[in-house]
Amino acid sequence: MRFVQTIACGVALMAFGAAVQAGETLDAVKKKGFVQCGISTGIAGFSLADSKGNWSGLDVDVCRAIAAAVFGDASKYKVTPLTTQQRFTALQSGEVDVLTRNTTATIARDTTLGLMSAGVNYYDSQGVMVKKTLGVKSAKELDGAAVCVQPGTTTELNLADWFRAQNMKFNPVVINNPEEAMRSFTSGRCDAFTTDKSQLAAVRAAQATPDEFDILPEDFSKEPLGPMVRQGDDDWFTLVRWTLNAMLEAEEYGITMANVDEKAKSDNPNIQRILGVSGELGKGLKLDNKWAYNIIKQVGNYGESFERNLGKTTPLKLDRGLNAQWRNGGLMYGWPVR
């Protein structure tokens, strides 16, 4: 099972690790003809498979954007669903080229795992969900509660930290399987269920009666979620980082899937640079000059991706909140494409 897969990844790291050398991910991706992304095993809005096995979500869009930038074709990607426990080994061993899997960027991960966070595509925070029948309005009332949590995440640490800081006790029930953890919560084994708030919203939306659950106002932590790559491959790292920036810049300048061809005729020098009409910025990335055009044409800008996967028209009904553009009071700030 999962445990066996973890071992298998470890063995792969031992035996075949030498095949992947730093600095050549882009070449390897071009050679095999698709980009291989590690994604989560199923969180609505971020990466979820439909009945035909097609994956969609905010994280899958990052993967498609990378494919669009490299190949000019957003469909040239493949995904590997990974649990929290498999994800790092899979990236380290070269099983995937990039991890686009709501993973929190932390200093420990950047310094001890041989990995590197390439940016943030969702600013999240850890929260708690309770049943409305419990009559709790704040996490500070949860002293002595049993809390269901999934293992091997920053979630487990934040939970312990937060209760320690509040001088409160809790009883963790650590369950590996997300569905089983959720079932434990709904059956009443735990008083509360904790994970990132976006996931709580996704889990709640998937319930038969979402109105029975409350997500409490407290934020246990900051969770900057974003793609990760292997250390030592600067070209690939830069490519992933600027793929995110291109989507943010496109939103800021109002370039959408629908109007991208129209906008290409614009006189605005910023828009001209982004869409590769002027300058040779794509060359620096070792890509076609139309790399960002391809991303926007086929995947859309960040705002479009957000609304399509998480926004008001989806079952998740999430606000832009921290993920709004910086001009609208959010934290999303695309670095200048120039």
Binding site: G17, Q85, T112, A160, S187, G188
Partner: protein, 394 residues
């Protein structure tokens, strides 16, 4: 035979390809060399790859603060303790469920195995049905079933079943009053004394029976001794003894002893699954004893239970013990499925650790070393026991 003068002499060994002995040595050295090279290659390649990727290695992380909480802690543990201690907690949890599981599965399985040979049609068929069903349903499925049953069917803590004062049954587990105070150590002392007394008494009764033929009711007297001596010790010492009653405070119960749903579900699953195999081992062991032994025992006029205990089981044990060892090992290793239902066994704790430190290879090595040690210990003990009960040929 002693005066045979033409004892053939072993031919002198020469270094020749035709000499099977030399060839044997050569092959073994060759295979050992290849194996050694493979191990060396894997280890050095791994270390090289880890270094190239800036992945930290070594066991230093064991001394760092773990930072995560664990639900069940047989030894004191808080999130500010080290990873090493967290893993120790996991190991103790594994041992706890394994030891209780092995004892219970042995008792339950033996009863089932004997029941399957019963002359009562209903009893033997029911035992047979149990064995066939439980052996053929995957353990993981059974664990999910028991866990779901406990958490779904039982009420929440506020509506907990409350049959007797101080006993609560809810989806948070079974809560029992715990004994507290100095009196507890006197009771334990009395219990130890009682056990010594019973052992001495059993020895004396055996000798008396060998000498006079009179049978002493060891079981009945022993039970009385086991109950009376600790009680007497408590009364004489006059030490205080209090009950720590569980009570509902806030969301959960405080105080008392807890049997958590995770532990209960895992234990139930392991016992029920393994006892089906144990039953088959016991049945085949009993059936391996010749019919003549039964008839001989019957001819001595022994009761059926004495026949089983004194004649059949001692002979059956020789067949039973080796496969039983495998079942004990299976049970111990199967306890690692605990992670699926949230019991913090060693695999669960190490998984969390290796995910937070990123040191997957060290983590897996720790798990392997732990299971290897436990398994070898069981194996050594059972081999010792097997040798002890082996047929003594005179």
């Amino acid at each position: 035979m002693a005066h045979n003068t033409t004892t053939p002499q072993a031919p002198r060994r020469r270094l020749s390809w035709n000499d099977p002995f030399t060839r044997g040595i050569l092959y073994q050295v060759l295979i050992l060399g290849v194996l050694g090279f493979c191990v060396w290659y894997l280890v050095s390649n791994t270390l090289h790859n880890l270094a190239v990727r800036n992945i930290s290695t070594g066991f230093d992380f064991l001394g760092r603060e773990a930072g995560f909480a664990i639900g069940e802690t047989p030894i004191a543990y808080t999130p500010s303790d080290t990873y090493g201690r967290a893993i120790l907690v996991g190991l103790f949890n594994t041992l706890k469920v394994s030891v209780v599981g092995i004892v219970a599965a042995t008792v339950f399985g033996t009863v089932l195995g004997i029941a399957r040979l019963s002359k009562n049609w209903l009893v033997s068929r029911l035992a047979g049905l149990y064995v066939e069903v439980m052996r053929n349903v995957p353990l993981l499925l059974q664990l999910f079933f028991w866990y779901a049953l406990i958490t779904e069917a039982l009420p929440g803590p506020r509506q907990a079943l409350h049959p007797v004062d101080g006993v609560f049954l809810s989806n948070r587990g079974l809560k029992l009053p715990a004994l507290q105070g100095d009196g507890l150590s006197w009771i334990l002392l009395g219990l130890a004394l009682a056990i010594v007394l019973v052992v001495v008494m059993a020895h004396w009764a055996r000798r008396r029976q060998e000498l006079t033929g009179n049978i002493f009711p060891v079981a009945r007297v022993g039970l009385v001794v086991l109950l009376l001596v600790p009680a007497a010790a408590l009364l004489i010492s006059g030490a205080p003894l209090a009950l720590d009653m569980p009570e509902l405070r806030g969301f959960n119960f405080v105080g008392g002893l807890t049997l958590s749903p995770e532990f209960a579900a895992l234990l139930a699953g392991l016992i029920i699954y393994t006892s089906a195999f144990v039953a088959e081992v016991v049945r085949s062991g009993i059936q391996s004893v010749g019919k003549g032994q039964w008839e001989a025992a019957q001819a001595l006029g022994l009761s059926r239970s004495r026949m089983m205990r004194l004649v059949i089981l001692p002979q059956a044990l020789r067949v039973i013990v080796p496969p039983m060892t495998s079942q004990y090992l299976n049970l111990t290793k199967n306890s690692s499925l605990a992670v699926a239902i949230g019991y913090p066994d060693i695999v669960s704790v190490v998984n969390t650790t290796l995910n937070q430190t990123g040191q997957a290879i060290e983590g897996i090595l720790i798990i392997m070393a732990a299971y290897l040690t436990v398994s070898l210990s069981i194996s050594i003990f059972m081999n010792w026991y097997n040798n002890r009960i082996a047929l003594v040929e005179r």
